[in-house]
């Protein structure tokens, strides 16, 4: 599937990869809030996850019920091959653009 990765989707996908097999809606929401200091609603993270699943970048399974969840299972996500490729592609694009910046622009004058 030839799909692009939006900025928010990229963050969610990175976190799915980082929390391998333990990533679910709330864990990613909290990671975004804690690690990036960015306020985000649960529903937008879920929506991003469904969209990523539609694009084939993640796969999900149900599991990991707990009493705090009222005995309900989580939808746990892992990254797929195309997901990894998409991440690498964006990473490469970023690095390439970073390398085009002359050193003094960022390192030099403040």
């Amino acid at each position: 599937m030839k799909a692009n990765l939006g900025e928010f989707e990229e963050i969610v996908l990175l976190l799915v990869a980082g929390q391998h097999d333990q990533a679910y809606g709330l864990s990613i929401t909290e990671a975004i809030e804690n690690e990036l200091g960015r306020s985000v609603t649960l529903s937008s993270v879920h929506t991003a996850l469904y969209r990523l699943e539609d694009k084939g970048f993640v796969e999900s399974r149900l599991g990991g019920a707990s009493p705090t969840r009222g005995g309900r299972r989580k939808r746990l996500y892992i990254i797929t091959g195309p997901g990894k490729a998409a991440l690498k592609k964006t990473m490469a694009a970023r690095v390439k653009l970073w390398q085009m910046i002359p050193d003094f622009v960022i390192e030099g004058a403040h």
Partner: protein, 877 residues
């Protein structure tokens, strides 16, 4: 800890809307979050956040899919394309029904569009003025001692100046006096002009008639000023700019052009080519009245009120003003303040004493047309529904197959509705085309004097489209729901009978309704036409044939009348000549009469006309007692009066001849020299009134010429030649009396031709629908006809069998329609003083005509059914 639970109702709401496969994980996440929040923010905030999140989750990923949208969601465009394609194939397969359906509906819609345009135009009268809401006209009502209330649009000349300082609620006011006939002259160009007013200076400030040049506020201020239309100006000044130019009036005064009017909007109750400033007006000699009069009802008065003034509250004050200024103690005198917006349609009961070209519409026509439009739309819609239902039955198999392949009810409903909407929209497009093409002819035939307004056409589009889409849905709904509800297996079985039966009751009902409407319309057409004919043939009490009315300028009349009369009477084809102030067909003015010796409070109001010697002979009025005016009695000129029979009764005279009667405002009594039989000089909407004739003491401008009976065409030419010889330079501007009288029934004739045309259309549409239905039913019953023939049925018996049910339906329809039509027609007839009786034959004829039409419609198909070759139709069994 675990006792803290999120609100259960929110959870249930979520489960209601969310798809099952996502619901568990999301609710889990939400509850976990709720616990965190409880610890960090407290229970209240946690619950609030929970609820907000439940709402935030509502999006296209989480919402449950309906069964239908599961299929449609991704490929809506594709499905729509598919629906349109099958719709096209289906319609192309049933060309006859498609054509009947589309054209039937298109004709119906086009009629409605035309009628709507007319109605919109009628309702738009006088709305173009900036001050429409605050402009009012003052009308005079008086009862007289006969008790009958007379309502006039005319008011005395002193009224407007008298408003002065007494009426703070009046912003501006103006008077109009109609121009009888003036001669305008500029260089070599001379024309008689009649279509104008003398107008007070504020007239153009109150009314927003468009001006090309000149100032609204000053154009009519000075004496001897004229404001004229562009068309009129180009008659006198050619291409020159008329502004500031001079023009001669009646060879007496020179007027200065102080303004030029743009084309007059046709939707104005005041229509004029020119306005002359009021101070220019001089009261003609012999009127015994002047502009300070409070009793001379000869002017139109308009007010522009301040905002929020209650016009009804002014009426009492106006009456007080009248009583303060006049010595006559007339308690029956009332002033009515009529809003400008009501004038055009609301003046039917008002008399205009001055015959001053005021436009008036007839609300009855509007209602009648509105109803007819609605009925046509109903018939066309019923046709559309009927044909749709009938034809869709043949698709039961297709639908069954679709269902086998997995289509659900929703999909099939959408498909059938798409078809029906496409059809209706197509019909609308054709309707607009038809409407635009037919409009100029209809407009001319009905004398609407309006053109197509393309912005209006564009603006009507959304509304028309909505109505038609709704119609499409309604027409499509029945078959759609019936067919989609059938079980696939039943539909696939060859069950022709059940197919024919479905929707049968509805179809019958619709046919009955359609034909009820048709019967009612045919009956109305007959009655309206008969009534109009009755009016124009009714005995008027005088001989309307072969009389010419010639209009002359007062000075020409004074100078040439006697010579013309003497010379023309030498011609053998001219039997009699006379003259008068008013013609037959004009309203006659009201006069005050008092029998000599009675007290002044016994004054009676009677219509009167100033006429010359031989008037009674020329008009063919019958003398009952006494004699006519004569040259031999010089006293006739000043001291004689002729009464009608009703006037004799009204005045309460026993032996009228020789009695003396005071005719105000003349001094001295007049002797009754004759009594004539009653005659009806005005339209037969009105009863014959009491009336009197006296010889003229003012300038009169009508000349009446009676010709002998045969070959009128040649006589006109001979008359013109003789006229030119006797009075060169005096124009012979004539009109036939009977055509002038017929003009009084123009409105009814228009109504009658409109109703005829549209009832014709409606009946045609109903027959079209009937044809489609029977064609369809015959096509489904060919096999039955074949079997019957094989078993020995005759052609006739098959024809009868196939058509009799429709005849029964039409008979039933008549039974419903007759009482309704009877009621409505009687209501309409009550507006006439002389009316026809509606005989039973009217309904009999309408029903018979309709049944005959239906038989003709059906016969083609019935014959084709009777002619089937059993071998062909039964081969595949």
């Amino acid at each position: 800890m675990l006792s803290k639970r999120p609100p259960g109702w929110a959870e249930r709401f979520f489960e209601f809307y969310c798809r099952d496969e996502l619901s568990e994980s999301i609710l889990g996440d939400l509850q976990e979050r709720f616990h965190h929040d409880c610890q960090k923010l407290g229970k209240m905030r946690a619950q609030l956040n929970y609820c907000l999140n439940i709402l935030r989750f509502m999006n296209r990923y989480t919402l449950r899919k309906t069964r239908y949208s599961q299929h449609q969601n991704k490929g809506f465009g594709i499905m729509l394309y598919h629906h349109l394609q099958t719709a096209y194939r289906h319609l192309a397969k049933h060309k006859l029904y498609t054509a009947l359906n589309i054209f039937g509906l298109a004709i119906g819609l086009a009629s409605c569009l035309l009628i709507a345009k007319f109605l919109v135009n009628e309702l738009s009268y006088d709305r173009f003025h900036d001050n429409t809401e605050t402009i009012h006209r003052i009308n005079t009502h008086f009862a007289g001692n006969s008790g009958a209330l007379t309502k006039m649009v005319n008011t005395p000349p002193a009224l407007i100046p008298g408003l002065g300082n007494v009426f703070p609620e009046v912003e501006k006011s103006t008077r109009l006096r109609y121009v009888t006939r003036v001669l305008l002259e500029q260089g070599d160009t001379r024309f008689y002009e009649t279509n104008g007013f003398y107008a007070d200076s504020l007239f153009l400030e109150i009314f927003s008639f468009p001006l090309v040049s000149g100032s609204r506020s000053t154009a009519l201020d000075q004496p001897n000023s004229i404001v004229m239309s562009e068309a009129m100006a180009s008659k006198y000044f050619g291409d020159d700019d008329p502004f500031g130019k001079r023009i001669n009036l009646n060879n007496e005064v020179t007027l200065k052009v102080t303004g030029v009017l743009a084309a007059m909007p046709t939707n104005s109750h005041l229509q004029f080519d020119f306005l002359i400033s009021f101070p220019t007006y001089e009261v003609p000699e012999g009127y015994f009245s002047d502009l300070s009069s409070w009793s001379w009802l000869g002017f139109l008065s308009y007010l522009q009120l301040k905002e929020d003034v209650d016009p009804a509250a002014m009426e009492g004050k106006l009456e007080q003003l009248y009583r303060d200024n006049t010595s006559e103690n007339r308690a029956d005198y009332h002033f009515n303040v009529q809003p400008l917006g009501d004038i055009y349609l609301g003046s039917g009961a008002l008399v205009d004493d001055l015959a001053s070209n005021l436009q008036g519409g007839n609300p009855v026509t509007l209602y009648a047309l509105g109803i007819v439009a609605l009925l046509i739309l109903l018939i066309a819609s019923f046709n559309f529904m009927n044909l749709s239902v009938a034809v869709s039955v043949s698709r039961a198999k297709e639908i069954g197959l679709r269902k086998m392949l997995g289509a659900n009810n929703g999909g099939i409903i959408v498909q059938l509705l798409t078809e029906s909407i496409v059809l209706a929209t197509g019909a609308l497009a054709i309707a607009y085309l038809l409407g635009v093409l037919a409009f100029p002819y209809v407009s001319e035939m009905m004398e609407w004097h309006i053109g197509i307004d393309w912005t209006q056409v564009l603006l009507s589009f959304p509304l028309a489209l909505t109505i038609v889409a709704l119609l499409g849905v309604l027409a499509g709904a029945y078959p759609a729901f019936i067919l989609s509800g059938n079980r696939a297996l039943a539909a696939l079985k060859k069950d022709v009978r059940s197919g024919l039966r479905s929707g049968y009751g509805l179809r019958k009902l619709l046919i009955v309704l359609q034909f009820s409407i048709s019967v009612a319309l045919i009956a109305s057409t007959i009655v309206v036409t008969k009534q109009i004919a009755h009016l124009s043939d009714h005995e008027l009490g005088f001989d309307r044939e072969n009389v010419l009315i010639v209009k002359l300028l007062p000075q020409d009349m004074a100078e040439h009348y006697q010579t013309l009369k003497k010379e023309l009477l030498k011609k053998s084809f001219i039997t009699s000549i006379s003259r008068g102030e008013r013609s037959m067909g004009d309203p006659w003015p009201v006069n005050n009469l008092l029998v000599d010796g009675q007290h002044e409070s016994e004054v009676k109001q009677i219509l009167g006309n100033h006429v010359g010697v031989d008037f009674i002979k020329t008009m063919g009025i019958t003398i009952k007692e006494g004699r006519s005016f004569s040259e031999e009695f010089s006293a006739d000129r000043t001291n004689s009066i002729i009464l009608s029979e009703k006037a004799v009764d009204y005045l309460g005279l026993d032996e009228p001849i020789g009695k003396k009667v005071w005719y105000f405002p003349l001094d001295g009594p007049r002797t009754v020299i004759g009594v004539v039989e009653d005659f009806n000089f005005l339209s037969l909407h009105h009863e014959v009134s009491p009336m009197v004739l006296i010889m003229p003491f003012i300038d009169v401008d009508y000349m009446f010429v009676r010709l002998s009976q045969e070959s009128i065409g040649q006589k006109i030419a001979a008359l013109q030649a003789a006229w030119r010889e006797t009075a060169p330079g005096v124009p012979l501007d004539f009109q036939f009396l009977d055509s002038r009288l017929n003009k009084l029934y123009d409105k009814e004739e228009n109504l009658s031709s409109l109703i005829s045309v549209f009832s014709g259309l409606a009946v045609m549409l109903a027959c079209l629908g009937l044809y489609g239905l029977i064609a369809f039913s015959v096509s489904r019953r060919r096999k039955e006809a074949g079997i019957r023939k094989v078993l020995g049925a005759s052609m006739i018996s098959i024809m009868v069998r196939f058509s009799r049910q429709y005849i029964v339906l039409i008979a039933l329809a008549s039974l419903i329609a007759i009482p309704l039509a009877q009621y409505l027609l009687n209501y309409w007839l009550e507006g006439f003083a002389y009316r026809i009786e509606i005989g039973w034959w009217v309904y009999f004829a309408s029903t018979t005509a309709l049944i005959l039409l239906a038989i003709i419609t059906i016969s083609h198909q019935a014959i084709s059914a009777a002619l089937v070759n059993p071998v062909t139709v039964l081969r595949d069994e």
